[in-house]
Amino acid sequence: MSDSHAATLDARARLVDALVRTGEEDRSAFRDLYALTSAKLFGICYRICGERQAAEDVLHDVYVTIWKRAGAYEPHRASPITWLATIARNRAIDWRRAQGVRRTTPIEDAPPIPDDAPLVSETMLADEAAHRLHACLQGLEARQRDAIRIAFFDGVTYAELAERQEVPLGTMKSWVRRGLARLRECLER
């Protein structure tokens, strides 16, 4: 257990190092960074874009963006994987909304998102918020939890979410807002 925790800390340190050196325009560090993170970021692009070719194009843009912006990464403010994954998610959402693609059904062949929280020893981002979110989500009503998870993982708006879950828009907003309010209460406890 402590061995694997040490290994995780080590992996995180390598990632911080690769990202910081990428910010110094170190090309070999950038290649390391790609090797360490591209599968995670492609998973994000694929799920949100919903098709392989688009996901590949968005992944390309994501790494070009990372190369340009890595100099602005501040290790004390965010874990590297959060910083990178956020760029990927935002880019993929931008792409889909620019295409005007409405997604009222989940994509078929994406691997399912696991329900369980990962072990603290295995997480790449144990620095922030001390892992509370998973436990707090488990405390919500199923329909609130599902809506919040779908919004995050599929990058959908309220309108798409309501259509997908087959409930009126106002009802969906109400579920989500109450769910988020409970979540905040739990997180601040």
Binding site: Y34, K40, F42, Y63, H134, A151, G155, T157, A159
Partner: protein, 249 residues
Amino acid sequence: MPGAMSDDQTPGEAPDMAAAELALGLLDGEERAQALRRVLAEHGFAQEVERWRRHLAQLFDLWPAITPPPGVLERVEWTIDGPAAMQVETRAGRRWFWPVAAALSSVAAAALLLVIVLHPFDHGAPPQARPTAPAAAPETILVASIDPVEKGLPVTAVYDPAAATLRLTAAPLGDAKRSAELWVIAGDGVPHSLGLLHDAGVTALTVAPANRARLAAGATLAVSLEPVGGSPTGLPTGPVVAKGALSRV
């Protein structure tokens, strides 16, 4: 949660969760615009959005990884290094048509000359029953005028698919410190090395099997300046000094 109170039956009384909604990406249209204005106007609101982002980032841990297809990193690096060179074929392809067409008369003349030199009467069979089917197309000789980016004379390239040979006229593009390396950029947008060019005299290259299909009408040929002996990375590392598109004679 089975025992949870059902407290969400009255839509009108839902709490204001705009910061979380913005962080999740749920909002669009006017609602999103309004939330973005609040980020700018209210410091507390901006901090709350940031707090939500940090909380929600925990979920990235659950996101299943999928290995991307090969070649993406190469394309990323190519974009970083030489966006202009990569887009010749795709985006600017049409704009290049007229200059290339104008150059073609001289290219065609040079090509004809080379074809004659390369194939001195080796077709013994009489030209009866000449096939007109498009199946004959892959065997068509292709030519390109590889024009220097700055100034100088174009390098003429002639590709003979039947023999998998590529012949180029003298290419005084390299010098004592740098080699001129020839690349083909086809449908995948990635440059593939075809070999080094001689400064003086004709260069004759035998095209590797993997590159043969890439040499088709519309593909770009580009020359970059590399360390002596060619690029150490397998991709162009130096400036592109000449380029042109392959076309049928």
